[in-house]
């Protein structure tokens, strides 16, 4: 186990590469998800405003 984590002395380089990559993928997932929600809410608010404007 110890041997696995030490990565033959390259632990820092190997683990930070994998760490950055996993973090990057998680970031992309969350950003895509939240961008959808943000756009949905924007359109929803825009529509309510638009309806009011037309009613007047």
């Amino acid at each position: 186990m110890q041997e696995f984590f030490s990565m033959g002395g390259y632990a820092f380089y190997v683990w930070s590469s994998f760490g950055f990559s996993i973090a990057g993928l998680i970031y992309l997932y969350l950003a895509s998800k939240s961008s959808f929600k943000k756009k949905f809410n924007e359109v929803s608010i825009w529509q309510i405003r638009e309806n009011k404007r037309v009613d007047k």
Partner: protein, 249 residues
């Protein structure tokens, strides 16, 4: 075929299907990435020259490949959008740019972390690295160009032309290791004929790349849905859809 294609590029159809496909892609992506992580970090033997540092290949090469694949996809969508005037294709290209930029950044970061122990330097102005950095700048340029226009149609057109010009950089990245005497090693996987990587080391790399591609597909579809809603806000299908789902999201 033509009918099928037209149906696919119709925004309401794409919006509806995208959700289902995104979920399937995401599930398959996570499964392949997890198996590939185990394969790459545990099962694959250490390299006889590079020791365990070679394992960085399992995140570096898939990010590099995706940085280029995403660009090719973005340019392809831009081409389709320009020639056949499919607005949905502009939406796809728009959302790919920041995703591609993140993959490019990951490629540069992991490359740097590989370069330090192997070459003794974090960075070298070598053809492969410089052209990959140029790819990042092209992505950022594309995003900036879009933001600089008020009018959607103008932004779409300018961005699509920009994306098509930027395609020139793709073969430069790919062939840089042959055309110039680079510090970066030559191709091991995408070599014509036989790849020079053994199957023990190769299968996790292949699976990781497939996983990254599926993941790219999933998040692109997710983000495209939002972009479509925003662009089509004046249409009937969006009005109805937002009315039904208001409060749910």
């Amino acid at each position: 075929m033509k009918k099928w294609f037209h149906q696919w590029v119709s925004p309401p159809h794409l919006y509806e299907r995208a959700d289902r496909y995104a979920k399937v892609f995401l599930f398959l992506a996570i499964a392949s990435i997890l198996v590939a992580l185990y394969g790459g970090l545990v099962l694959a033997p250490a390299d006889y020259q590079q020791g365990d540092a070679f394992r960085i290949i399992y995140v570096h090469v898939p990010s590099a490949w995706l940085s280029m694949f995403a660009y090719a996809f973005m340019a392809g969508a831009s081409f389709v959008a320009l020639v056949w005037r499919f607005s949905a294709a502009h939406a796809v290209a728009t959302v790919i740019a920041p995703i591609g930029a993140v993959f490019t950044l990951l490629c540069l970061l992991t490359g740097s972390l590989w370069g330090k122990p192997m070459w003794g330097t974090w960075w070298e102005w070598d053809a492969r690295m410089t052209s990959e950095l140029v790819l990042l700048l092209i992505y950022l340029g594309y995003i900036a160009l879009r933001l600089s226009f008020e009018e959607q149609a103008k932004a779409d057109k300018a961005a699509a032309i920009f994306a098509l010009i930027g395609v020139v950089n793709l073969p430069i990245i790919h062939y840089s290791v042959y055309w110039w005497n680079t510090l970066h090693q030559g191709a091991t996987v995408s070599k014509i004929g036989k790849p020079s990587i053994t199957w023990d080391m190769g299968w996790p790399l292949l699976l990781m790349t497939i996983g990254f591609m599926l993941f790219f597909g999933a998040i692109t579809l997710m983000a495209t849905r939002g972009e479509l809603l925003s662009r089509e806000r004046r249409t009937k299908w969006v009005k109805e859809l937002v009315d039904i789902n208001r409060g749910v999201n």
